[in-house]
């Protein structure tokens, strides 16, 4: 970390752009946070799920008598016990015509289970201990069916079907192309080199340290249903609850309190969401369910299993002419998040390079596994892995330096805005908004001393040590619309509140949004209360994913705070007798130049610039604006000191970056020691450098796990074999190096903050750069040509390859 953190900006500096310590920290550091499992409601029942031990089976019967006989057991619910509306499948979010069989979760399995852990019944008891005792006493009679585990095998004609209802396992397909791909690959037209390879990336769950955590309360007297969730998209949760329980929308409230990490896995509305809400309605008692880690391994959505057959055509100057690929995406059993992940994966492939022609054949496959939905990076790590690896292979074939090959193909700054040729997931063309990709790559190479590496390698070699170096580039679509709103309100106490539908899982959104607001209202962030992710606080919202909150909620906060500033000025002008200025409708018009010259906002008051002794506090103004019965407002003043904005960006913003790594490989154990890790990145205007650096460092750690530690192993019957943290390895403090960062700031022209998004760039190219560097370290250790094609690249696989 380079930023020196402070509780407030340096004198004379703005809050935005300063490395501010977080508002969130004090409570979390003293054990005063409010996570869902910290909430205790009177009469609360504890839930536990009876889950399928089989990857595919028909349910022939469920015997719950012994479970129900256990003292303390309140109910054992099955599909047939659910309210009628909840007996349908959970709606597919983001449906797409490319999906042939748009199947999604049942709230509880109806008559077929399609992955290990699929919930079959729900036990409700006075304590979690009793619920788990009872869970073991529920007897389910299964007819075990053949399961499909491997996505490529799933496409074979004789493969078992993942669902009884589907013709085959090809759940969807999509062809996308631009440019003249045939010509690009034609030697007669200049294709001097064609490079081919097949790559594979494995899946794993998000593994936030807090498991999924849900609590629902139904008040039969008022009909109000309140749902506390460790989630990422409160308004989407609310939408699903309304649909599944056929509930009055005005009587459903979803709250995400403190959430212990998300990384994508908590965005989804799962079976258990529906079951917990339905159980609260059916029993009339609050119902809590806390996932345990084994359940997270079995049932939380996972990502990254994809096979990429990719071909790259280059001209005789090593300039890219075209890319052709067939990508097979293991979608698991269901489509809770549409086909967003594979779609992002393939459209990320061109990255920072000029790729004149491209053809993509995307095959989306059902398997008997937990569904694939976005995990930090969301398809981009795979697309980048395929492209960066094939570029490495091309460099090897052409005898070119890997950095030089990339340099020749980068989009130049004067080409901005640059249209790639695809339509992105937001329905808009992929059009890079800003950035200097050559400068970014050059800065990373300079920082890691790319030129001096040969000497370091030779010196290490003399000591018997094997060093490798690598770089990888990415471009990341972020700041996805359509909107995320914010309300800014001056309270009668003089404090300021911000409400937004966006939830936070550790990013520090309260601090970031407060910084944006503080600059507009001339107050300290300690004077601001930020309420996140409460559907009662703001009527519409989307959620936290795709590194979109600063662009969307941040811009809305900025615009709403500006409007509130105008209202404060207009009302204060009236109260202080600042005359001769036409105020108009100050609340709608943004800045009011005349008033800005006469008045200033300082420490929660509006005062006269010419006579700072004369002023009026926010508290007094708020009380006036909230009005007294029977008094009329002066002309130009409207009710309340508040404003709501739903900023909607015209299209996604595009971040970019270069990762460079130097590492040492132990050929005996396959162990890796990272010597230096450099990230040069451009995520637009930085609101809080301290928090951005935290996102990058944490993102890299996640990517390192993907690169050589985390491996989710299923057997041929699709039975998960790695279901503890002792089998599935998350990066530890001894695995993750200090990341050296270079921030480039190309403001996005697409939002008033100039921001882009920083949540995932640390993860995206990490696997590509690590695997490339390992290959570089070991290139001369084998007789034939060495090219690693998988992520992860486990240490034992390295050793196996060296002895092959």
């Amino acid at each position: 970390m380079t930023a020196a953190a402070r509780p407030s900006p340096e004198p004379g500096h703005a809050w935005v752009g300063s490395p501010i310590q977080r508002l969130e920290d004090h409570a979390l550091l003293t054990g005063q946070g409010h996570f869902v499992d910290d909430l205790h409601l009177p009469g609360m029942l504890h839930a536990c799920f009876v889950r399928s031990p089989h990857a595919h089976a028909r349910i022939r019967g469920i015997d719950r008598q012994r479970a129900l006989a256990l003292p303390g057991v309140h109910a054992v619910l099955t599909w047939a016990d659910l309210p009628e509306a909840a007996r349908k499948r959970v709606p597919v979010l983001l449906p797409n015509p490319a999906i042939r069989d748009p199947l999604n979760y049942w709230v509880l399995a109806k008559d077929e289970v399609v992955y290990v852990g699929d919930p079959v019944a729900m036990v409700l008891a006075e304590s979690r201990y009793i619920a788990e005792d009872a869970e073991a006493l529920v007897e389910v009679d299964y007819e075990v069916l053949p399961a499909v585990s491997h996505a490529l095998e799933a496409l074979q004609p004789a493969a078992p079907r993942a669902h009884l209802s589907v013709q085959d396992n090809l759940a969807g397909k999509l062809n996308m192309a631009y440019g003249d791909v045939a010509a690009a690959f034609d030697p007669a037209q200049g294709a001097a080199h064609v490079v081919r390879e097949t790559y594979w990336q494995n899946r794993g769950a998000a593994h936030a340290m807090e498991p999924r955590s849900y609590l629902a309360r139904h008040d039969p007297a008022t009909g109000e249903l309140t749902y506390w969730k460790a989630g990422q998209a409160p308004h989407l949760d609310r939408k699903n609850i309304i649909e599944l329980l056929d509930w009055n929308p005005e009587k459903v409230r979803v709250i995400h309190p403190d959430v212990g990490g998300g990384f994508g896995g908590k965005t989804i509305f799962y079976s258990e969401d529906g079951a917990v809400c339905a159980a609260a309605v059916l029993t009339g008692r609050p119902v809590k369910w806390i996932e345990d880690r084994r359940e997270h391994f079995l049932t939380a959505t996972q990502e990254r299993d994809q096979w990429w057959e990719i071909e790259l055509a280059l001209d005789d100057q090593a300039r890219i002419r075209g890319v052709r690929l067939v990508m097979t995406h293991d979608n698991g059993a269901y489509f809770p998040w549409g086909i967003i992940t594979p779609y992002i994966a393939v459209t990320t492939v061109p990255g920072p390079y000029v790729v004149p022609a491209m053809d993509i054949d995307l095959r989306i496959v059902h398997t008997n596994k937990s569904p694939a939905t976005p995990v930090r990076g969301a398809g981009r790590p795979q697309g980048v892995f395929a492209m960066e690896r094939i570029l490495d292979k091309a460099a090897q074939q052409l005898g070119l330096d890997r950095a030089e090959l990339r340099r020749r193909n980068l989009v130049q700054p004067e080409q901005m805005p640059y249209s790639v040729g695809f339509i992105y997931r937001d329905g808009k063309p992929v059009r890079y908004d800003s950035g200097d990709y050559p400068a970014c790559q050059a800065s990373a190479l300079a920082a890691i001393d790319w030129q001096g590496f040969a000497q370091r390698k030779a010196a290490a070699r003399a000591e018997g040590r094997l060093l490798g170096i690598a770089l990888a580039n990415y471009v990341e679509g972020t700041g996805l619309g359509p909107f995320e709103g914010a309300t800014v309100r001056v309270q009668q106490t003089g404090r300021v509140s911000i409400f937004t539908g966006a939830s936070a899982q550790g990013q520090g959104h309260k601090t970031t949004l407060a910084q944006i607001c503080a600059d507009q209202l001339g107050i300290a962030i300690s004077q601001i209360d930020v309420v996140l992710a409460d559907t009662a606080g703001i009527s519409m919202g989307i959620g936290t994913f795709a590194s979109r909150i600063v662009v969307n909620a941040g811009s809305s906060t900025l615009l709403a705070a500006r409007a509130v500033r105008s209202k404060l000025l207009a009302l204060a002008a009236h109260e202080l007798g600042v005359a001769a200025v036409s105020m108009g409708d100050a609340g709608l018009s943004g800045a009011v130049p005349g008033l800005e010259q006469a008045l200033e906002l300082v420490d929660g008051s509006v005062r006269l610039r010419a006579d700072p002794q004369r002023g009026i506090s926010f508290a007094a103004l708020a009380r006036i604006a909230q009005a007294m019965p029977g008094f009329a407002f002066p002309e130009g003043v409207s009710a309340g000191l508040e404003d709501t904005q739903y900023f909607s960006p015209a299209q996604s913003t595009y971040c970019n970056g270069t990762h460079a790594v130097e590492l040492e490989v132990d050929p005996a154990s396959g162990g890796i020691r990272i010597l230096r890790y450099v990230v040069a990145h451009d995520s637009g205007k930085l609101i809080n450098p301290l928090l951005v650096e935290g996102q990058v460092q944490g993102g890299v750690a996640h990517g390192l796990g993907n690169a050589w530690l985390e491996y989710m192993h299923y057997d041929a019957q699709s039975q998960p074999l790695t279901t503890t943290f002792a089998d599935y390895l998350l990066p530890m403090a001894t695995d993750v190096p200090r990341v050296e960062m270079i921030h480039l700031e190309s403001p996005s022209p697409l939002n008033p903050l100039g921001a882009k998004g920083a949540g995932e760039g640390g993860t995206i190219p990490a696997a590509a750069v690590i695997v490339s560097a390992v290959e570089d370290a070991l290139a001369d250790q084998v007789a034939d040509r060495l090219h690693f094609t998988t992520s992860p690249l486990l240490p034992q696989w390295i050793v196996q390859r060296l002895h092959a």
Partner: protein, 176 residues
Amino acid sequence: MNSPAVHAAGVTPNAPDMRRVSLRVNGKPYSAEVESRTTLVDFLRHSLLLTGTHVGCEHGVCGACTILIDGRSARSCLTLAVQVEGCDITTIEGLANADGSLSILQQALSEKHGLQCGFCTPGMLTTLSEFLRDHPAPSEQQVREAISGNLCRCTGYQGIVEAALLAASRIAADRP
């Protein structure tokens, strides 16, 4: 799903085996009846309502539930409440200064952005409190090894490591 022995045996458990436990938590005495199979972390969180200690894996790997038993770090998810009869327990709620202000280590974690979601933080704080007490002038590698039994998915650890080193230097400067 991580059910105790009855799970494997598939038999109905007998009447709960209740025991009285008396202990001190963060200097305050408590005495309560608990079922003998109750884990210490469930006892702290759900009986004493000290919810600052978190449960991340329930199999002793992630370290979020780490507390101090008589000054030594332990996994409260792998410890039964009945095992700590007569013990002095320290949790995250007991780490701030007497006046409620943040301790040197807590303050350093905030300054170095050593926490994001805050879920692993209770285990990091207890582990590092013990470590810094026993290793007043640690190297970076020693800090990394000390917290290698505490998983964090958010921070990539760097802020935590820097905070521990900063806290060690400030504690040393405070020492007469």
